[in-house]
């Protein structure tokens, strides 16, 4: 019962655009301002950080790289599905969009796994530094021939979600058992890859290796703890930036996937009545999808590699 609006499916001659496409470009302009503001904040916060306070190498680079590939693949299938629609091949379009949706699900699933990995790791800042020579399990924490470490990252035995120093003191815990993580942390991409391989090999040889047994535990008295935080936004400005940016980006991926699924199933009736408009819908949503992909292509190096 709405009034028919001109140029919803046809192109206005003097602009060469249909309404939806122009609307989408405008929306993307505002999205650029949104993510632009967040990236600028990242630059400002990082440039203003005190020396040595910006963590490095705390993310899983191979996984991040794989996720980048997943998202790029989905952009490709979106483009192919649109081409299929242009060629009036609805079945082919559907097949490509299945792949797109699968990629979106894979991306979000991997991201969720990465998140939960972070949430279950703790960093403990120590009142007095530990000697690496006396604690071989800390070898992964020492960079560039450091002999002492000021903080330990790993799993804490029996730790709930979001423990802090306060919660330890309140529940009268005297000491914690932490399993320093061998795998990543404070090393560059190449080194991470090497260690990842080495760890996998080690796990294969130790067939019964459950995570707790993989590393030996380190006992730290609570009185020795200066501060403690899981790898959550409260851990550091770096992780706050990481979770805000990737979380917002993840919501965009989710939104795009829902839009595609909507067009693919409940919206498919339109293909029969107005195929041009249907194709336009896929194109406009596709523009959004490519933008979301592009944001990730900036996010990956900024957060994982730099």
């Amino acid at each position: 019962m709405d009034i028919p609006i001109p140029y919803t499916s046809t192109v206005r001659p003097d602009t060469g655009l249909y309404n939806g496409k122009l609307g989408m470009w405008l929306f993307l302009a505002s999205e650029i301002m949104l993510f632009g503001a967040l990236f600028s904040s990242y630059v400002l916060l990082r440039a203003g950080a005190d020396e040595g306070t910006w963590p490095h190498g705390l993310l899983n680079i191979p996984i991040g790289a794989f996720n980048t590939l997943v998202l790029i693949t989905s952009s490709l299938t979106v483009a192919m599905s649109w081409v299929a629609l242009k060629a009036s091949n609805f079945q082919r379009y559907r097949r490509f969009q299945f792949v797109t949706l699968a990629c979106a699900a894979a991306f979000l699933g991997i991201k969720a796994w990465e998140y939960s990995e972070k949430f279950s790791h703790y960093e403990v800042w120590l009142a007095t530094p530990l000697d690496v020579a006396a604690h071989p399990e800390l070898a992964g924490h020492a960079v560039d021939g450091q002999t002492e470490v000021y903080s330990v990252i790993g799993h804490i035995e029996g730790a709930g979600r979001g423990w802090t120093l306060n919660s330890l003191q309140e529940s009268n815990i005297d000491s914690i058992q932490i399993h320093p993580d061998q795998f990543h942390y404070r090393v560059g991409a190449r080194e991470q890859g090497k260690r990842s391989k080495a760890e996998k090999a080690a796990q294969k040889s130790k067939s019964a290796a459950d995570h707790g047994d993989a590393h030996s535990a380190l006992t730290i008295p609570v009185s020795e703890i200066k501060r403690m935080s899981a790898l959550v936004p409260a851990h550091s400005t770096y992780f706050a930036t990481y979770f805000t940016l990737t979380g917002l980006h993840g919501l965009h991926v989710l939104g795009g996937a829902i839009a595609f699924a909507w067009i693919l199933w409940p919206g498919a009736k339109l293909w029969n009545s107005d195929p041009e408009r249907y194709t336009n819908a896929v194109e406009a949503t596709g523009l959004f999808w490519h933008f979301v992909d592009l944001v990730w292509i900036f996010l990956f190096p900024v957060l994982y590699l730099l």
Binding site: M1, D2, I3, P4, I5, P6, Y7, T8, R12, T15, L17, N19, G20, L22, G23, M24, L26, F27, A29, S30, M33, L34, F35, G36, A37, L38, S41, L44, L45, G48, A49, D50, T53, T164, L165, N166, R227, S229, V232, P233, A234, H235, S236, T237, F239, A240, T241, F243, T244, L248, I263, G267, L270, S273, D274, R277, A281, A284, T285, F288
Partner: protein, 612 residues
Amino acid sequence: MSQNDLPHGHHEHHHGDGAAGGHHDLGFIRKYIFSTDHKVIGIQYAITSLVFLFIGFLLVLLMRWQLDHPGTPVPVVGGLLEALLGEAASEGKISADLYNSFGAMHGTIMIFLGVVPLVFGAFANYLVPLQIGAVDMAFPKWNMLSYYSYLIGGVIMLVSFFIPGGAAQAGWTSYPPLATIIPTDGQTYWLIAMVFLITSSLLGAINIITTVIQLRAPGMTWMRMPFFVWSQFVTAFLLLLAFPPLEAAAVMQLMDRLAGSSFYMPAGLVLSGQPASQLSGGGSPLLWQHLFWFLGHPEVYVLILPAMGIVSEVIANNTRKPLWGYRALVFSALTIGFLSMIVWAHHMYVTGMGVGISMFFQTTTTIISIPSVIILTCLLLSLWGASIRFTVPMLFAIAFLPMFGIGGLTGMPLAFGSSDLMLHDSYYVIGHFHYVVAPGTIFAIFAGVYYWFPKVTGRRMNDRLGHLHFWPSLLCMNLIFFPMMIQGFAGMSRRMSDGGATYAASNPANEGVIGALSDTVIGLNSFIMLAALGLALAQVPFIFNFFYSIWRGSPVLNDNPWQATTLEWQTPTPPPHGNFVEPMVVYRGPYDYSLRTDELDFETQNQPLEVA
């Protein structure tokens, strides 16, 4: 984006009746509540934002009472306040915390829930499609969502008054660390509500821009668009590009409040004498200010550009002349739009961000006054030699010119870092920007309401009541805001809940203090409060007139009662869903007045040129 709602978009069987307005098959709910008609949505925006404007005004009346009589129970409504807000208003007194809440919410409500939705949501929604000869907005469903997003944001803001701890207290600018550590969830409500409001204006902005670019009637070239449409077009771009950084900032402040991050919390922060040791730190309070003012300053032009557009239409119609310098107006508006994005840090001279940066921003700030002055000059020169019809809308439009002039000129001392150091955060600043927004923008809004009321309702508002509204309002506005300049020069801070009593020269604790506030300066508070009461009384005729005229006003005799040239007057009255009886074709510029010497001294835009 709009393409997602496609399956509902088939109208084959309705082709042809769109213009006739025969949509009696819509139920009440689809027609008036969940309508996609841009005019109904415009009216929804207008009514809601007028209510918010009223609420914002009531808040400031309470604040003025508190400033004049610190710590004494509010007369008449004190008991009601206590019943509604509990301990914060015990015995009907306004506590300092409550005063802070009122201050923060007065600014927030007036700007984000009152004036912007009124000038952009209501006026642009209703008039832009009509003035360019379009049947509706480009994305009617998103338009409806825009209104509901706004409404939800507004409701969240209001609800925050009644939660434990009360509404946000850190000013409408919500500077951290204060905003982050303040012990009320009101700030969280504020941030969430802002996300809804930003979404709303984003949808509105996309809609207006797409509509103007795509749906102009044949012959409606860019330079034939009424200046009002231009002003809304530029405004939409400001909303589109300046609001998202505030959304980013709000998300980060939400993270700081809810997830314990430290985007805005510096290392080594000390709270109530205790070092905040479990805070990760490393954040920057300045970051918020940059992001906030990146929106905040374009926002000023969001408030003023549509007002200039409204005033232009009213002036052209009532001077019966083409606007003086139409092209200059258009290019000035575009220049303002661009420059307004690079002046934001003139709000931050006292943050210690550095002389070099201040220098840049004071240069751009000085430059942006040039297009503003061009617009004001064009409008002033449009009056020259005209036989002016002093109708009620015209009175408001004429009053806008000097009032905005005072508002703009008093901004100059704030544009320069050296003089801003003296005046920053004083009542002078309050006086300055209220001159721009209150007797400026709000007078333009009144002009617009009186001017387009006959088109919207089919009835005119009463002239006598209009005069009774205009003259006392003009007087009281000046009596309120001019004394604030004096108080500001005397050094009165804008943020004190006791009206300056702490720093009074008459306070024994301040004996011998140089620069303490004299009794005269503090006494101005009484003067301002009385003037504010006068302003409140002056709105009574308007409110009465508004409702009375909807049902009892004298009916208009034809569709074009002001003898105007632009296309909105070429519709039936009130315009039906689909707007025009027949598709519009445009042959002329927007202001073809005084072309003929007979009593019909104008040609409408859809009037073909006579072939000589």
